[in-house]
């Protein structure tokens, strides 16, 4: 067999290992999926009435806010899952098994790709659940099949990028506690963007940051695809910017992760 097919086979083995670990330790998956659901319910039912009234659109109110909010909650689902990635990578490294893998003649990258694929599957499950709950609480997308597929593509690209970043964050963490804290900024970023309220309502410097940080184009692209944007061209531009950010983050995260994994373990 060639090197590439060994890498695939080893990655599949590692994926099976990670899926099994997720099943054995379901509380983490539940917590990760539960968090965005809690935020969704909190924002729709507690803040939704007031925030929706401030959106300045036609209908206003809770129903409109559920639509406005859902893209941000979907993004938050991804950031919650990648927090889990960082934790499980760090957990792995504190246990001796990674040292064992390093002394075996296996495709080294498979240790990482196993985590990436496992988290990706976790992200898909989380996104399906959260979308379902969003539909139940009043999310009314106007998207056709193409738009849904495009939105799914953007979310998967984002998940892929942030997962690789988290694999690196998990590796630089000296402990599992650090690993759960390091991706925290990712969870906060949707707040400092157009996730929960329009950026127009923010003061100067924060507004500038909110408009140019990577999560805003992702949220805007999702919003445009799922709910119909101001114009098709604008939705296209936002999607392109979002995908470009994802590509950059994915590449940086992958290279960083690989470098960290190949460094010596002392």
């Amino acid at each position: 067999m060639s090197t590439a097919s060994f890498a695939l086979r080893d990655s599949a083995t590692m994926l099976r290992r990670n899926l099994r670990r997720m099943l054995r330790y379901p509380s983490m998956t539940l917590m990760l999926v539960g968090m965005p659901v809690v935020f969704l319910l909190l924002f729709v039912y507690v803040f939704g009435g007031t925030l929706g009234a401030g959106l300045g659109g036609g209908v206003g109110g809770r129903a409109e806010y559920a639509n406005y909010l859902t893209p941000a909650i979907l993004l938050m689902t991804v950031t919650a899952v990648v927090q889990g990635t960082a934790i499980s990578v760090a957990m792995d490294l504190t246990e001796g098994i990674i040292a064992r893998f390093r002394t075996m003649a296996i495709a080294r990258v498979s240790v990482l790709t196993g985590h990436v694929l496992g988290s990706l599957i976790q992200a898909v499950i989380g996104l399906v659940i959260v979308t379902g709950v969003a539909l139940l609480v009043g999310f009314r997308p106007t998207a056709g099949l193409t738009e849904w597929l495009a939105a799914a593509g953007v979310l998967l690209a984002l998940a892929f990028a942030l997962i690789w970043l988290s694999v690196a964050l998990g590796q630089i963490s000296k402990s599992v506690e650090t690993a759960s804290n390091l991706p925290m900024p990712l969870i906060l970023l949707p707040f400092l963007g157009s996730g929960f309220v329009p950026t127009d309502s923010m003061p100067g410097a924060i507004r500038w940051f909110a408009e140019y940080q990577p999560f805003t184009p992702v949220i805007e692209a999702l919003r445009g695809l799922l709910l119909g944007g101001p114009s098709a061209a604008e939705v296209g531009t936002n999607t392109a910017i979002a995908l470009a950010w994802c590509a950059v983050i994915a590449l940086a995260g992958y290279l960083w992760s690989k470098r960290l994994f190949n460094r010596e373990s002392n």
């Binding site: 060994f6 083995t13 290992r17 670990r21 001796g96 390093r102 002394t103 003649a105 373990s265």
Partner: protein
């Protein structure tokens, strides 16, 4: 191609490693013939684990070369990895998986076919007395079971050279003996074992050759008997019932005896032969000293170990720091 001499399982020349300005290994040479047990003996912090990490491709040496099972460590690390198995000091099992799943994971990573994998796993569970436990998660295992599973995982790939880094540290005496038995069986099958330990008894029991590592340097190498022969450390231990008897014994025997007032004992250097015991007993008799107990100590690896692993500047001299080493 006919081979006259079997190629060594492990050779290392001039291995050096330092972390920052702390030299951890200093020009270490090793030679391990195939099918033998080699013990690297040393106190904590001597560099044993670092040696294992270098030889198992986990870290790179700063200088020096090594070949494992014919593969060069620097140029062919994957060849080395394919030939070795490692069971480290800290168990390398997946706690969330069951014993059987852990073994199956190894079988998959060694690209064994489905049938072969199942057979191998069943066989190893049987051999390591883990059939019952094989269905339970490794997190529920006792220390001894975990270590057995760890070693079983190492054996899935049928390695020719096995590194055991302190394989019995923290195990109860029974589990330790089980582990020794397993190691002996492996060697009987032709596997080479490179073992590190801080237990002299372990090295004495198992190893064909022993190297003593201290502060990153090899201070002695040989068979257990060869090492013991280097030590003229035998003594006779006399125990007394009270302080007065001890005093009179010291009076009779003079300065050659070293005294432990708390334990009411005296150590008198000597090889323990009848020829040397008789005059000793005669003198005690003449002095009317009541001796409660007399024991003869021939030098054991303990003596060797303490003598060899002394202070950093005088590694090969006896130091009064160790009570046992102080008598001479």
């Amino acid at each position: 191609m006919p081979t006259t001499t079997p190629q060594p399982a492990i050779t290392a020349t001039g291995l050096r490693k330092s972390f920052g300005d702390k030299v951890v290994l200093d020009r270490v040479d090793l030679h391990v013939p195939p099918g033998s047990i080699f013990a690297l003996l040393g106190p904590n912090g001597a560099g044993k684990t670092t040696t294992v990490k270098i030889l198992t491709t986990l870290i790179r040496a700063d200088a020096g070369t090594a070949r494992i099972a014919g593969h060069d460590l620097a140029t062919d690390p994957n060849g080395v990895r394919a030939a070795i198995g490692v069971t480290g000091q800290f168990s390398a099992v997946d706690n969330l998986l069951t014993g059987a799943e852990n073994l199956l994971l190894m079988a998959d990573l060694h690209h064994l076919g489905r049938t072969e994998a199942r057979q191998r796993v069943a066989h190893l569970l049987e051999r390591f007395d883990l059939v019952e436990a094989g269905r339970k998660p490794a997190s529920t295992y006792s220390g001894g079971m975990r270590r057995r599973l760890d070693l079983a995982m190492t054996l899935v790939g049928s390695p020719r050279v096995i590194f055991l880094d302190e394989p019995t540290t923290g195990l109860d005496p029974r589990s330790r003996r089980d582990m020794w038995q397993i190691v002996r069986e492996l060697v009987a099958e032709g596997v080479t074992i490179f073992l590190t330990t801080q237990y002299l008894e372990e090295a004495d029991q198992l190893a064909d050759r022993i190297a003593v590592l201290d502060h990153g340097r090899l201070v002695a190498e040989g068979t257990a008997d060869e090492l013991k022969r280097r030590m003229p450390g035998g003594h006779v231990r006399l125990k007394f019932t009270d302080q007065r008897a001890l005093d009179s014994a010291v009076h009779v025997l003079g300065r050659q005896a070293s005294r432990d007032s708390d334990a009411l004992t005296l150590r008198v250097p000597g090889d323990g032969s009848l020829r040397s015991l008789k005059p000793l007993i005669d003198r005690l008799d003449q002095g009317r000293v009541e001796v409660a107990e007399l024991t003869v100590h021939t030098p054991d690896l303990d003596d060797v170990f303490l003598a060899l692993t002394g202070t950093p500047d005088t590694p090969a001299t006896r130091t009064p720091k160790h009570e046992k080493a102080a008598i001479r």
